[in-house]
Symmetry: C2
Subunit: 472 residues, 2 copies
């Protein structure tokens, strides 16, 4: 069960609030320090619909690192919590406002400062939208791989805070694999440069890496230096239709057993396909109960052979149909449907999002257990998955305003985490801990490791003002 | 200048020493707790010849994580420092014994516990030699890429402690990029599991990543889980001969400008070639003043085109000769010579090893400055480099027992660091800070970032017993 956080508590500003706002007046233009309750409400939570949140004291729309630093220093002096946020597309409640906090929005810091083709790196402000960076890099013949499904909306700063994954991670890794350096405002209000701009470097602890995925609890990122790759080679798309989710899982495992390295390997089930059809009329659910989408970007005949091998893997696992797409537009439409699955499901009712990741060999077993758990708790569970990584996103859907259904879904959520841990998995593959996965984290990590977390947190944020009460 | 450490101080064991040894008797078999001075001397330093060291109180040859834990706990109770070491091939003094410490050698922990072809990971004890792991993986069709030049001798645990790089890093990354999980004994004597075995995971801070490159100052690694890749495709080797080191540097930059991604790009100068010739009679120095060795592992005609492009880059930068090798044995011999350069130079006299890394565009300028610095300080400086990464290893060579020459070399060492920092580089690309780069680290990192290091160190090793006095 999520922790007993106050749900939508409307905090009346304490005496120090006005004093804080006054003190910020010299640092941040007044029009970017927002106290309008309607605006505050819209900045008080991310997309984790089930996670609790409170109304902030104020929202600061920061436009520079110095402004962020001023906010942290002013808040630290008054023991006021600071919650940083990007686009608010998170799915674990990591950016949800806590009682009496100041929310710092980085979304206005959208400068792409440098794209360096020779060093293959980019330097960007945290509010740059993921797809915008990718497009800007592509113009220079370069590629920023991490591509969470939220890439049209989510920001690089938010991606760094959660160590975001995505579709191409199965071959190209996650956000941390691309972060070379960070500029960060620490819990003590220092503005520091971490990491490097050189290809290699071991000068001191990897504090930049430590910040990645720390969900705003150790520092607020004000600039990001990322590694880039050459543009990706053209991809072949292989689609497989399956009658059962477990067969689809066996196809995913077979791809790993065959030693293939797909550039994407996604799974979308009937519930998702129907939701996308209902929204976008794509006619997907007529063909398949479960769709598995693979991509191969190995050049030349080696890549052709790998695509053929993937089709054999799908067929061997019981696909009702499997083929390489000969039509690029059709292939792109299938992946667009994959990306639309989450917003399409959100239209149906409150969605409780899972994010477990299990060893690849256990993907069929985990999918089978999710089915059983859904039945046991009478809960509709849709499955989308970065299946090639073993990263599954069972989505628990309940009708609006149905408290018993909500309780059943929470029980199912708990059981899915239990199953993932039993199979050697983790409670969060890429969404982060936030609030939703805090109980799971306590089950996954030993008390000694949690104590190490607490010690590191206290070391870098001694007054516990950065996003307190999150993660652990 | 290196810090004023006691040089070869022979510490007589304080009263608590015998008591410590007695307390360990129940935990570690007596024959693996060594106090023989000759043995202690051989375990009191790594290969950084110029770094200071002291004689340890005792050496423990650990054979299990529990034994390491017992040593740390016993030492912590008595405020006795613990210095962990693998094969002792480090080049910065990170494994050098400090006054009154216990050295824990992990070299007997050589089990390769798991090689999992489906999940593409291996679980190993820290004493496994890098090349042994690579060979064991190859038998299963898998590849552990990080390949420091010390790979025939250095251990995975030592590689993790220093975040070791190597020749293939230019395309495939460094040790940190391959560490999924670690078992670690912390400064408080806890035995903890950090990281994961799944392909992805964001459950908590990246404490496994933080341990990588922390040089035994935050924990002692007792088990390593590494990611593996499929076996590398066959490589083409391109060799270029140059009359000047700056031309060779321009060839390296041209490769980056052309957008190539070589699987290795190494530079070896005449001093190195002559030293290898003098040792192994390879006849290399007859042909070239500076040798640049590139490799391309892109399959098929795309790779052929890339190799041809690399030759054009070499020619355009002024190569006196450049060609793709048609003879695999010859190509391997050239890379073997590259790997032998360091031990060959060590035969000539004490070597002070540099490890700066600069942005790729500044490789020619940095090589030029190194030449000037050598002349200014009348010091022989040999150059070997992971040039494609901008990671240069100028090697400062002095005659035996020539104190003025040694002082000149130290001044040159200082100036090389200054030049690298001026060009936006780092004081250590892959060897680690140890003792030799502590002054440089203080120049590279801001006081605020050094304070963050100190805070993290105190958080995870509150009594400062793990490898104290190293790094920062």
């Amino acid at each position: 069960m999520p922790p007993a956080y106050p749900d939508r508590v409307n905090v009346s500003a304490p005496a120090s609030a006005q004093e804080l706002l006054d003190s910020l007046a010299g640092e941040v233009p007044r029009e970017r320090v927002v106290t309008d309750p309607d605006v505050l409400e819209s900045y008080s939570h991310d997309e984790a619909e089930w996670a609790p949140y409170a109304l902030p004291l104020a929202l600061v729309r920061a436009e520079s690192a110095r402004e962020v630093q001023a906010v942290v220093r002013a808040c630290r002096a008054r023991a006021i919590p600071v919650v940083a946020r990007g686009a608010g597309t998170g799915l674990s409640g990591g950016a949800n406002a806590v009682d009496g906090c100041v929310v710092v929005s980085l979304e206005a810091m959208t400068a792409i400062k440098t794209i360096d083709t020779l060093e293959r790196l980019a330097v960007v402000e945290p509010g740059v939208v993921n797809d915008h960076l990718r497009a800007a890099c592509a113009e220079q013949g370069l590629w920023y791989p991490p591509d969470p499904a939220s890439s049209p909306w989510s920001t690089i700063g938010g991606n760094v805070a959660t160590n975001a994954g995505g579709l191409c991670c199965v071959k190209y890794g996650v956000t941390r694999d691309y972060v070379l350096g960070l500029e960060v405002v620490t819990g003590t209000g220092e503005l520091v440069q971490l990491g490097r701009r050189t290809a290699k470097g071991v000068a001191g602890y990897d504090l930049a890496g430590l910040m990645v995925g720390s969900e705003g609890t150790l520092g607020i990122v004000t600039e990001v230096t990322v590694k880039l790759r050459p543009l990706q080679a053209p991809q072949r798309t292989v689609a497989g239709y399956f009658d059962s989710i477990v067969d689809a899982g066996r196809a995913v495992r077979a791809v790993a057993e065959a030693g293939l390295t797909p550039s994407a390997l996604e799974l979308v089930d009937r519930t998702c396909l129907e939701a996308v059809d209902a929204w976008k009329n794509m006619g997907l659910s007529a063909d398949a109960d479960v769709l598995v989408l693979g991509r191969i970007d190995t050049p030349g005949t080696v890549g052709d052979d790998e695509a053929a091998c993937m089709i054999r893997c799908f067929d061997g696992a019981g696909a009702t149909w499997a083929a390489a797409s000969t039509d690029e537009a059709e292939a792109d439409a299938l992946f667009a449907a994959r990306r639309l699955a989450y917003p399409a499901l959100e239209r149906l009712g409150p969605v409780l999002t899972e994010d477990v990741c299990v060893p690849k060999r256990h993907v069929p077993e985990m999918l089978s257990r999710i089915e059983q758990i859904g039945r046991a708790h009478d809960t509709v569970i849709a499955d989308i998955a970065h299946a090639g990584d073993g990263n599954l996103h069972p989505l628990l859907i309940t009708p609006h305003d149905d408290e018993p259904a909500r309780e059943r879904a929470q029980a199912a959520f708990h059981d899915i985490i239990s199953a993932a841990l039993e199979l050697g998995g983790t409670v969060t593959g890429e969404h982060g801990v936030g609030l939703l996965k805090m109980p799971g984290l306590r089950r996954e990590l030993s008390p000694e490791v949690l104590a190490m977390h607490a010690a590191v947190k206290s070391a870098l944020d001694p007054d516990h003002i950065l996003n307190p009460g999150k993660m652990f």
